[in-house]
Amino acid sequence: MIEGRNSIWCLLVVAVVFIAAGCSKESAEHSIDAEDPVVAISNDELEAGQATYNLHCVSCHGRNLEGAAGVSLVDSEWLHGESLNDISSNIQVGFIDSGMPGFSDFLSESEVENLAKFIWSKRQGWGHVDYHIYPVSAEDEPGFSILETVEPVVSGSFKNGLADFERIEIPHFAVELEGPMNIPWDEPTALLFEEAGWTNANQNTKLMVEIDGEPVEPVNRGAWDWIYPVEAGTQNVKVLYFTSGPSAPGEDWTMWHKSSARVFAVRADGSAKLAPLSRLAKIDMEDSVVEVVVDDRPEVVRLRTLDLPSYSVNVGLANRLSYAFNTRSCAIVGLWEGEFLDIGPNVIGRGKEASEIMGEWAFRFPNVLTIKNDNGAACEFEKYTRGDTPAFYFSRNGRDYRMVAQASPNGVRIEFSSKTIEPTSDIELIIPDMEAFSVKQTEVEQSASNGFTPLTAVIIERR
């Protein structure tokens, strides 16, 4: 199932209805616009659609519809129709020139319908964004009452669902953005308005967000970034943004506002960006991939990592297993299978977001692998060493340890040793349960190496 960018799978400006998967046990119904048809999608339909997707589509379009050989089904570029009928039709007919066959011979009508609903429910962000741009003057106080007294100079619609502030060609303006937005994530989500002076008395700016006609209170993340909580599912999101300067000599704030304004869907705590909602935000996210991969020797990367606590040191082994050692707790706070790390969010731009693992967790914090005997005791982290087998040196309760995690044929062997602790000591480990891995105790050498005598070791193997 290979197709080009202009396929059914990048269709859809959803002007109708989105129902988020898994957000409700009940059948849901929601109208975005009075002129749009109302469509109800039940959880059963979504589950059936997901089953069909997993069978026929996942290999080309990815587990999370993010795209692989086939294009992404969740981004903002939907070019071949926005209705459920369009999606269903395109599934049945296919885009053979792009490498995607029609599925009418393989799928029943109800299977196609459920599949279309499932895909539709996964759409991220705005379907389309209608905009009106109003002229204001540099002397105007920031506010939106002016919208009642002046006519917009430009109106239109961003059909790709991405607000484009650079489209605004007048220096001082108020802009109204409005469109249906789907929030498909299970985790609490928010809208992040980043970088520009969104609401700043010194810069004569003001931002207001309405969801389904009701004003939403922001959670001020800081001086320049603003966060507005948003519910899962579909809602009409309206944004009003006013900027009239003033422009001090050499400080063209309004130009800066246009050229730096970015809008994202993010985790509610702001820790990770989930989807772009504006054009520059999309460029940022596309350009923010910096993959660190492991060749023949382990890699060690200490950058902030999503879902891991501060002070974690990530180690990628050569057999596509990686772990994170935390220098505050002296515990292994994560183990994952797959590629190592995408550090882009942490090193592109100002690096406000965390690096992300490129694999599946076997376990992660708050589950940890650690020495039971001293668990909870203050940890003194001494150092780590590099080379073919990175080793971590630390002490707890005044007892010194060395921890080495080494790639084994089907997993990883983790060994704790010490310079001072008697090898006969009864050292126990806390090891999290893992679905995909089994754990077994293994023999250790009885003799010391470089002054360190092994105490205990386990092998974590793929099941």
């Binding site: 400080e251 800066w256 702001g270 991969v293 220098t327």
Partner: protein, 498 residues
């Protein structure tokens, strides 16, 4: 872990930052153009191919190597037998990698360096002598790092007793942080400077720092640091760093035993101002500096020209290097600042003199805007050792004005009262983001006189304590008809000598 010319990196896909460096919280207009003293030039050093070489730590060490710590977490060494080889055939070796945004590096004897990375001060040691660090040793991690992007860690600087000093940036856009302006603290000595004794003891040393991106040691072993303009910092500045002192940003006081968050909020601004140390030099915003890096002293013994003992600082926004001249009045440092050389390719954050008297300049925009167009790089300033520049050499205050000393003799007919145009102002201390020039007024130049050797001009002005005094001397000419490349100096008048 390979030497370059054939740089192999594990980073598969790298996107350079130029496309992203479109926003800034700082000003946009820049002093215009490239400028340099006669005889000085900027040379660009090729950096490893395919590596986003955003230098945030730089040290030219006694072993002849230049160490560059870059933002993605690497430390690279430039190994060249001759100065020219750095240009013609730069040989880069990756010394270390995987660090957490290192923003400072210091030499620490053969085969070792010390790196300031966000969560830790780390000693990197090459045990087996292959040019690659084998051990990453924790020297100190006694502060709290909360994974906020702006919680930078700068340093270290070393005093003559072997103590190490570093500075800890406040956070920005950190949910839950205690803020009284743009920057905040979630506690754990954010906004503090620390000292680590030779036996490894961590000591919170001073508070009130905001975005202290540069720290350095003077030839006499004193520690100085720079801070960036913003809330509670009217314009960027240079301080001498002293134990127990408070440098103005209130939120850091949450870690001070005498304060709580509530008691800090209740402090009147005037009281906070009284508690705060005066900078030894203010750097006028945009005209000189928006985002200063480390202070680097010229101890080259004349290899860099006539500016021995003066301080050279790069600026990340202005893409320039400026010069600071200090003197002690009433037992305290104060002095002047003026631009030195402009027109670099990127934002200048680090400066380091090598044994040849070349000033290395490490560069990154780090996601902010810089006047120079490139997102990162490495350059150096070289004096040709032949051409005598015609510039202001030094400035010192008198009870009735200033003495301006030039590198060359002046044409007497250009030394008139009208040729020395002065004005003064001060900066407002508040939680607003930066300060305009408050009470900006022109000063009447009462008289000027030229010394017998033609190099010193005594300018008579009515002085007011607490002001920054700008003197525009761009109209003077040397005996051979040259104009100075930089024609304005800014003096911070904390004290007027009696």
């Amino acid at each position: 872990m390979q030497s370059s010319q054939h740089v192999s990196t594990s980073i598969r896909a790298i996107v350079l930052l130029s496309a992203l460096g479109v926003s800034t919280t700082h000003a946009f207009a820049q002093a215009s153009g490239s400028y340099a003293p006669d005889g000085y030039r900027i040379e660009t050093i090729e950096t490893p191919d395919g590596v986003p070489f955003e230098i945030a730590g730089l040290a030219a060490c006694d072993d002849g190597k230049v160490y560059a710590a870059i933002r993605i977490g690497d430390v690279w060494t430039l190994e060249n037998k001759t100065p020219d080889a750095a240009i013609t055939e730069p040989r880069w070796v990756k010394f270390a990698d995987g660090l957490n945004e290192p923003a400072g590096v210091a030499c620490d004897g053969s085969g070792a360096i010390i790196v300031a990375q966000k969560p830790e001060l780390t000693r990197l040691v090459d045990i087996d002598g292959d040019g690659v660090a084998d051990e990453y040793i924790n020297l100190a991690d006694d502060w709290e790092f909360h994974d906020n992007y702006h919680e930078y860690h700068f340093g270290p600087a070393k005093d003559q007793l072997g103590n190490l000093y570093g500075t800890l940036n406040l956070s920005h856009d950190k949910p839950g942080a205690f803020a009284m302006g743009a920057m905040g603290s979630t506690g754990g000595y954010r906004g503090w400077a620390y000292r680590i004794s030779p036996d490894g003891e961590f000591h919170p040393y001073a508070s009130g720092l905001r975005s202290p991106a540069g720290i350095g040691t003077s030839p006499t072993g004193e520690i100085f640091y720079t801070d960036n303009q913003g809330d509670w910092v009217g314009t960027s500045k240079l301080h001498i760093l002293e134990e127990g002192k408070f440098y103005g940003h209130p939120v850091s006081l949450r870690d001070h035993p005498d304060f709580t968050v509530d008691s800090i909020k209740a402090l009147p601004v005037n009281e906070l101002k009284e508690m705060s140390e005066d900078p030894v030099v203010w750097f006028p915003h945009v005209e000189v500096s928006n985002s200063p890096g480390n202070p680097e002293w010229d101890e080259t013994g004349g290899k860099f020209g006539p500016f021995e003992g003066q301080i050279f600082i790069g600026d990340q926004t202005q893409s320039n290097v400026f010069r600071v001249m200090l003197e002690k009045i009433e037992g305290k440092y104060q002095g002047g600042v003026l631009n030195f050389i402009g027109g670099f390719q990127s934002g200048n954050i680090r400066t380091s003199f090598d044994a040849h008297g070349h000033l290395w300049v490490g560069q990154t925009t780090a996601g902010w805007a810089a006047k120079g167009p490139k997102p990162f790089g490495l350059e150096r300033v070289v004096w040709d050792a032949e051409t005598d520049p015609f510039e202001l050499l030094d400035i010192s205050v008198t009870p009735t004005g200033f003495i301006l000393q030039f590198t060359e003799g002046l044409k007497p007919e250009t030394v008139t009262a009208a040729a020395f145009v002065a004005q003064q102002w001060h900066y407002l201390y508040s939680g607003n983001y930066g300060s305009p020039k408050e009470d900006l007024v022109g000063l009447i130049t009462n008289s000027v006189s030229l010394s017998d050797d033609g190099k010193e001009v005594t300018v008579s002005l009515d002085l007011t304590k607490g002001k920054v005094v700008e003197i525009d001397f761009s109209g003077v000419k040397s005996l051979d008809g040259r104009s100075p490349s930089v024609g304005k100096v800014y003096y911070t008048l904390n004290q007027i000598p009696k």
